[in-house]
Symmetry: C2
Subunit: 491 residues, 2 copies
């Protein structure tokens, strides 16, 4: 696949259309040719990998609100300046901060052995002595929801589920509720704790962490207080909640099947995370100043924070590296018409605090600060395979030019339902134009939020293809002669 990709990349777009018999592209202009040259040069990019290597080696895990994330911001400012970006700065904010403690799980009866567990973000603590209780198993969150009220009093719920690898990552929506919502459901039914089968697709003894959502009392399990930003999550009632690795979850499932009726499966669970109050996080901002202050800003980025279990290579050193490397390529080719603003967001994993704060502060910016188009890279380091647009009807030709510039990289045109990612989603939701470069997700949920999300997982050729795709997109939109309008009117 790698070989085929490079071959296609070497062909000019016109030749590609001929080979495949696709409809004739729009007439090729000198501007198109410039984009193609930039794109093809990016297939030899080393800047993105260098950023990833530096961040994962010199900083490592970058949990939001911690000293590690603060060190990452300092590192990021120095790196972005050294790459030649302008107006490099940190926009700080404060957010309630949760940190991991001890975490162990062991079956005490009838088949004593340890299981591999990690606390979900915003889990309550069991206290240092842990809790010991009977385990009640459910095949999925729907089965848990059907459990009678009060039936889990004094028990530890275990929620399993299935999850299949999908290229577009869509099974995150299918399996994710076991993490996002099942803890609150179990709490509502009286459980003293919950362990879930990790929301992931690999069979290694590395559980997948990730945030869970506790409800505002009275709002019920559907409440998604965390994402709203309106409620301090550290104030919400919670129970201890952990994830087991897939091998451990399946082992626990077999134990539940094999346990004699008079000797139920009992687990001792120790999770001692804690809230350490309001701490500083921040967004790191860097710019490629445009020649036309009235043309608006193209806002792109990824998130600088990571979960604490790994060095966060896929999630999301890749995203900050890809977007910065592409912006640098456009910058080095000469000042673009529009300002490109690269933001490395803080505190995404624990509740999209950085993205939410950035939108809140800058949504009303006018004049030189007006954001006209957003894009985000936050789905690993594997290749871009589809482009989705969220452009207004007046910018159809712009979308056509972007699609044509991406096609030689093996990127197909998708639909018109681009939504941005978590950090720029607020812009897209209120009508700002958005372009999504969709990455291949077949490996993503093997690594997502596990200790295994490390630099060695990066395929350098696929990473370069990402840089090339972003370079092609950015060079096109940043220099587009036409006005970039809104995708839709504000609500």
């Amino acid at each position: 696949m790698r070989k085929a990709l490079l071959l296609l990349a070497a062909l000019p777009a016109a030749a590609f259309a001929q080979v495949t018999g696709a409809p004739s592209p729009p007439p090729r202009t000198e501007a198109d040719a410039r984009v193609e040259r930039l794109r093809d040069a990016a297939l030899k990019d080393d800047v993105a990998f260098d950023i990833m290597e530096g961040l994962t080696t010199e900083i490592g895990p970058r949990m939001a609100g911690t000293q590690q994330e603060a060190r990452a911001r300092t590192w990021a400012v120095a790196k972005l300046k050294s790459l030649g970006f302008r107006n490099v700065r940190v926009e700080e904010f404060r957010m309630p901060t949760w940190v991991r403690g001890a975490e162990t799980a062991e079956i005490v009866s009838p088949f004593p052995q340890k299981l591999s567990v990690t606390a979900l973000g915003q889990s309550a603590s069991t206290g240092p002595n842990g809790i010991t209780a009977e385990v009640v198993g459910f095949d999925n969150i729907e089965a848990l929801r059907r459990a009678p009220a009060g039936s889990l009093r004094g028990k530890i719920a275990f929620v399993s589920h299935s999850m299949t690898r999908t290229q577009d990552g869509s099974q995150y929506g299918f399996a994710g509720p076991a993490r996002w919502n099942a803890p609150q459901v179990a709490k509502d039914k009286g459980a003293v704790g919950i362990v879930i089968r990790s929301v992931g697709t690999d069979y290694h003894r590395n559980p997948h962490t990730g945030g869970t959502n506790w409800a505002v009392p009275g709002e019920g399990a559907a409440g998604n207080a965390r994402r709203s930003g309106a409620v301090d999550p550290s104030t919400l009632p919670a129970i201890p909640a952990g994830a087991l690795s897939l091998p451990d979850a399946e082992n626990l499932g077999r134990m539940l099947e094999r346990a004699p009726r008079n000797r139920p499966v009992r687990m001792r669970l120790v999770l001692t995370p804690r809230w350490i109050g309001q701490q500083v996080s921040g967004n790191v901002v860097a710019e490629v100043p445009g020649t036309d202050p009235d043309a608006g800003v193209v806002l792109i980025g990824g998130h600088l924070d990571s979960w604490d279990l790994a060095t966060g290579a896929f999630d999301n050193a890749a995203g900050v590296a890809i977007t910065a490397a592409a912006a640098k390529r456009v910058m080095d080719a000469g000042r673009p018409k529009r300002t490109i603003r690269v933001v490395w967001f803080g505190a995404e994993e624990v509740g999209v605090f950085g993205g939410t704060e950035y939108h809140r502060r800058h949504n009303a910016d006018t004049g030189r600060g007006r954001v006209v188009l957003v894009g985000e890279s936050d789905f690993g380091a594997d290749r871009v395979w589809r482009v989705d647009f969220g452009l207004g009807p007046q910018n159809k030709a712009l979308g056509d030019r972007v699609a044509a510039a991406l096609a030689p990289l093996g990127v197909a045109r998708g639909g018109d339902r681009a939504a941005g990612g978590a950090d720029v989603g607020a812009w897209a939701r209120e009508g700002t134009a958005v372009i999504d470069l969709q990455q291949d997700g077949m490996r993503y949920f093997d690594l997502h939020h596990t200790p295994d999300d490390t630099l060695d997982k990066v395929d350098r050729e696929q990473l370069r293809q990402n840089v090339a795709a972003w370079t092609a997109m950015l060079a096109t939109v940043a220099n587009a002669p036409e006005e970039i309008g809104r995708a839709s009117s504000p609500d």
Copy 2:
């Protein structure tokens, strides 16, 4: 590959020879036909998987000398009796027992982050507060050996090395010295601790444990005191010794390259394993009694103990399961001529105590107890691809019949250098006949001695092929009309 294997298995041996143009097999007898029927029926075996599932689910990790290993023996006796074996018994022995404690490693300067570490078997303790020292890196054990005397005083040595997947597992001998011997070499040069790149081939955050060898004072680094059984390893001078996962080892390597000259890489290492004195281990023995007490015993098996990090599916629930399932198939087809004795050895991982003890006690057995042929399964659950013999010249025809019975399973004839495994090696070394059914090792060192050695890794079709191979071999040798002599004279 699986499909092709089953297709071949379905063909009678004669047809197979025709297809491949191989030399004509010896005339096919009724005895050969019986072996073939048993072999082919074994391709539908469920007994081996059932044993593996039971042992990994109901017992889990089975560290030598611990209560978990004792529970495994009780489980094993009940299981072997329920399968119909006779003379099921435990032969206990005592051995010095080492158990794991806390284990953490973190870089404190210049790039603070945690690394994934596990103690090597027989590591000394750092004490609960750990040791903090500068890390000095070596590309391999040879580079460490070249370090000047005293040059590691007060330092933590880091030994990297390369290891490539090999089908025959031969790179264990190439990379293994980094674990077996480097700790003693580092100690001799004054190091206060050592971390090695795991002896393994996977890129998961799961370090590979395994025993290391400390020297008897005065004997130097080449001393292999552990395996000799002559010295109590708990009495030997040692330093703290751990293994890093491959992603962590490579990260540490990058840190050593990137650290400023005036800010060397410093690690805090906490390993608190301890020796808990002489504890009970044991070999679990079961028999299929033969009809001819004078024909000698065929001794086969694997090891019941495992390292403590995983449920020991490949290492070595597979071996005890495969050998017992095959013996049961021969048993259920009618009493064989020779007694088949299945031994599930104890305390292999920590120094081959069970195998050594078994040989010591039974080496001189005569009459009904005389062992005439040995075999061992201790290389995972993937398919048998080669058979190696260690038979006397008088038993050439027996080897030919075994090879012919195995060929339809895709098992090629190797050489005449069979050595048994660790647990039956003492028999082979002193001249007892031996047959090695060599398993495919391409995945073995991804899992070996890691937390990842769990049931989900088992490919049930390959496991069945193992049972079929062992059934064919056992049915042939246990019923061989000729005398099975020694491969060589005793030393």
